[in-house]
Amino acid sequence: MDERVMAMKISFNLNGEDVSINIDDHITLLEMLRDSFELYGAKEGCGYGECGSCTVIVDDMAINSCLMLAVSVNGRTVVTVEGLAGPRGELDPLQQAFVDRGAVQCGFCTPGMIMSAKALLKEKSNPGEEEIRKGMAGNLCRCTGYSKIVEAIKCASEGGCSCGKGF
């Protein structure tokens, strides 16, 4: 097995801030975020692209950070769940909707869910239930049965939902 490890210097925008770091080329984005930046929001639920709990947004796209190499975010923009709340900790409407609609139980899937939903809403400001379910298919949750997450996403979308809090 070839065990040569190459360190590479990369620069990227992380949650609105320009950062640079020397990182080994075999490290995943998830490992770098957690181990080097101490951003523990993205979780490893499987480590191989099947659960979505490691989802972050790279250049407006929701990706599984466990599958992406850290070096490949060089020059790009990365947003993690820690990057959503406002400067004084005001929740993003999507986060607020997750809270209000009971979309959080154990919470292990939650950061990944929120990042996937964020990207979904960016792409489609007013998705229907089917579209939400299809768009979120890569994120697993074992606690909620999904309905309350769908409601929360609907609630934070442009059209809002019956609870009237809306976007």
């Binding site: 979780k43 639920g45 499987c46 154990c106 292990f108 929120i114 606690c143």
Partner: protein, 770 residues
């Protein structure tokens, strides 16, 4: 009086109870601020890794760890040969590091602690183990045969010596009285919890040799006891143990026992002198964390011409796997639906748990009830039809009623079975939809579960310490565990209600065995009822003290005073009022001042099952009914769920949003169990240990669940509530099997109900028709 939930006049009077209160920790969770075991990092912490066995049954000839020990960065290498023996499980048949032989693929043979996880992974690969394969047995019925390989030679038999036998009335007499009898065999698969957060722990010794374990356990006090016992083996009997519970990334029963990996982590920390963290990969979570036990159930039931059940006779064989954890005690809970789901006068139940070289089993949400209820409720439909009854009508005839004492001596207090049946019938449009045999069908299944704790240990208690500060805020140190179900919020609501505070005035702390009183753990759907009553009685004590002092301050009789909106009021004198924070400060800052700190240890009024396995072991019982409408594609066997209704008698819905969360989440887990989940083992080896091959429901698969909350206001529950954590998954499988029968006329007697099984059954049906 039982009724379908809508806020009643009484409920309107509550300030907090009955409101849709968001989960207290949701704010942190949506920001990624919550610390799970994966996120715990201590100074100079090492990483642990386990070497798993390569055979299902083999003698360990030798273990050579020398290469691993020489790898730079390796700090400890342990095996069963260089450590004292520690055994786990309730009959202590599971040595945490295996010596002499391995009995299943996932056996722990050695372990390493190293500076990084990478080094630890490399090091375990450098350990050489020489094995000598032994004949193995994977089928419990074969394992029961004379001459089958013995999994534990010292036990003399593969059949566990457990008292799983219950007789009520006279089954032979019941058979004689029956005009109709049905006898069938059902099979239930091996499935697993699939918590999104994998298992793990961190162990650390301080300079005096006292141990701290960080763990997402559901049983921090029982774990505390197990770890304290292990300290004895390490020669540290006089040292203390502290368990700190991290956020739990899903429990569902998986964290209801202590497992070898935890003791291994403790030993690695001990021998390395450093903090050690060991967290399972998803692959390990699949093969190394025990699941729900597979069951074969032979069942017969009979009824009279009038549709009254006369007997129920069940024999079961459970594949216990190689070691014994709580899975082996699930028959004690299966007895509950067997004896007490519907009125059945004559019952016989015998279960055998059998060792095999398969992966062992533990507790999982429902704790045996889903297996037993699948058999009972599938057969109820068949029996009803044979006796010429509409299955809904048949259930109404035999339903349980409030105030009855069941053959197992359960004292039923509240019982909303009738209301649940009626609600589901209406929502499902049962009369219009049933019996069309056109590929669409409807099915129902009822259930019973413990709703008021379960006295499986001598104590079913739970402690609370409640402390009020000078600012009118309360700290609630509860011994309960929140796995995401929302007991933190429920407890805060209860205390706030009683003390006239807002929910945000109550800080709930449940995490540290040094701070809190004992509790039996988050099992048996007991938190709302037992921890809830504990919190309620603590709050009442605090209230007494507050009002006593307020009476002297306001010069009003105590009986006239009440707490509301963070104030004390008098019902006679509108002038006599005082803010609670002011009152608390006045009580504190004075000569002979006092602060209000109270404690409560609540143990429900129940008994343990006696030698005949009878007795009122729960203070209340929860009832529910599942109803589904399915569409079955007769070509492909695909099932589409068109409608899914769960009606649950919850006593009182303290937080309807949390109740729905349990119904929806439990329903999803139940649907997975019914339709797709199964761990496939080939000669003891797991073949589908990943989310691609072991499917759980995803967003597109999951229908919306129509939750019907029935309130019966239980006399013993906190504000009338009963537990509902587990039951929402219990009725899924039989309701679907019954709907499939209604849709296409085939009876699937094994789970999961896959398209292949349906196609095969349809072909079989066609063959026998022609």
């Amino acid at each position: 009086m039982a009724k379908v939930f809508e806020p009643t006049i009484k409920a309107m009077e509550f300030i907090n109870i009955g409101k849709r209160v968001p989960k207290l920790d949701a704010w942190d969770k949506v920001q990624g601020k919550t610390m799970y075991i994966h996120d715990v990092k201590l100074p100079r912490m090492l990483h642990g890794k386990i070497l798993w066995s390569k055979y299902p049954h083999a003698r360990i000839v030798s273990i050579d760890t020398s290469k691993a020990e020489q790898l730079p960065g390796v700090r400890a290498v342990i095996t069963g040969y260089n450590t004292p023996e520690i055994r786990c499980g309730f009959i202590k048949d599971n040595p945490v590091l295996k010596k002499d032989k391995v009995r299943q693929y996932r056996d722990e043979v050695a372990a390493v602690a190293a500076d990084t996880l990478e080094i630890a992974e490399k090091a375990v690969k450098l350990i050489d183990v020489a094995y000598e394969e032994l004949p193995a047995v994977f089928d419990p019925e074969e394992a029961m045969q004379e001459g089958a390989p013995l999994i534990h030679e010292d036990k003399g038999s593969n059949v566990l010596k457990l008292p799983w036998k219950m007789i009520c009335g006279d089954v032979e007499e019941g058979r004689k009285q029956a005009d109709y009898i049905v006898e069938e065999t059902f099979r239930l698969p091996f499935v697993t919890h699939c918590c999104l957060g994998t298992s793990g722990c961190v162990a650390q010794f301080d300079a005096k040799g006292n141990l701290t374990v960080y763990s997402p356990t559901q049983i921090r006090f029982l774990a505390h006891k197990d770890f304290q016992e292990a300290m004895k083996a390490l020669g540290l009997k006089d040292k203390t143990v502290k368990v700190i519970q991290t956020a739990i990334g899903g429990g569902f029963g998986s964290k209801l026992d202590t497992y070898p990996f935890e003791f291994i982590t403790i030993m690695l920390a001990y021998y390395s002198g450093r903090a050690v963290k060991l967290v399972y990969t998803r692959e390990e979570e699949f093969f190394a964390s025990p699941g729900r036990q597979p069951v074969r159930a032979k069942i017969s039931q009979g009824c009279t011409r009038e549709g009254k059940l006369t007997f129920r006779d069940i024999e079961m064989i459970l594949d216990n796997g190689a070691y014994t954890s709580w899975g082996a005690t699930t028959p004690s809970v299966m007895m509950m639906p067997i004896s007490s789901l519907y009125q059945v006068p004559n019952i016989r139940y015998v279960a055998k748990c059998v060792h095999t070289n398969n992966i062992y089993s533990t507790a999982m949400r429902g704790y045996g009830n889903p297996q037993a209820t699948f058999a009972i409720e599938s057969q109820i439909d068949t029996l009803a039809e044979k006796a010429g009854f509409d299955p809904w009508q048949f259930r109404m005839i035999n339903r349980n009623r409030p105030g009855e004492v069941t053959p197992q001596k359960f004292e039923i207090t509240s019982c909303g079975m009738k209301e649940c049946l009626e609600a589901v019938k209406e929502k499902l449009q049962w009369d219009e939809k049933r019996g069309k045999s056109n590929g669409r069908g409807v099915g129902i299944a009822s259930l019973i579960h413990v709703g008021g704790g379960a006295r499986i240990y001598k104590s079913d208690g739970c402690g609370t310490i409640l402390k009020l500060d000078d600012f009118g805020k309360a700290s609630l140190l509860s011994s309960a565990s929140d796995m995401g179900q929302g007991s933190d919020t429920i407890l805060a609501m209860i205390v706030a209600e009683e003390l006239g505070l807002n929910v945000e005035d109550v800080t709930v702390i449940m995490k540290d065995t040094d701070l809190e009183i004992w509790d039996a753990g988050a099992h048996a759907s007991r938190s709302t009822f037992v921890a809830g009553n504990s919190a309620l009685y603590a709050a009442r004590k605090a209230k007494e003290e507050i009002l006593e002092f307020a009476a002297t301050m306001l010069k009003e009789p105590k009986e006239n005073l009440y707490l509301r909106d963070r104030k004390v009021f008098s019902c006679n004198n509108p002038e006599a009022t005082m803010d609670i924070d002011k009152l608390l400060r006045a009580a504190h800052f004075r000569t002979n001042g006092r602060q209000i700190v109270v404690s409560e240890f609540y143990d429900p009024p129940t008994v343990m099952l006696d030698r005949e396995m009878k007795g009122n072991f729960s203070a209340a019982y929860t009832y529910g009914v599942h109803g589904v409408e399915v569409e079955v594609d007769q070509e492909t066997g695909q099932i589409k769920i068109l409608k899914y209704i769960i009606a649950m008698d919850v006593g009182r819905a303290l937080n309807p949003m949390a109740v729905e969360g349990q119904l929806e989440g439990g329903g999803a887990m139940g649907l997975g169990y019914s339709l797709m989940e199964e761990l496939h083992l080939e000669k003891g080896k797991l073949l589908n240990g990943n989310f691609l091959d072991y499917k759980i429901l995803t967003f597109p698969d999951m229908p919306n669940i129509d939750s019907v909350i029935v309130e019966t206001i239980d006399e013993k529950g906190p504000f009338g509530a009963k537990g509902i954590g587990e039951p929402p998954l219990v009725g899924s499988a039989p309701a679907i099997a019954n709907a499939v029968w209604d849709a296409v006329g085939v009876r699937i007697r094994s789970l999961p109900i896959t398209p292949e099984k349906i196609v095969a059954a349809l072909e079989e049906k066609q063959r026998s028709n022609s």
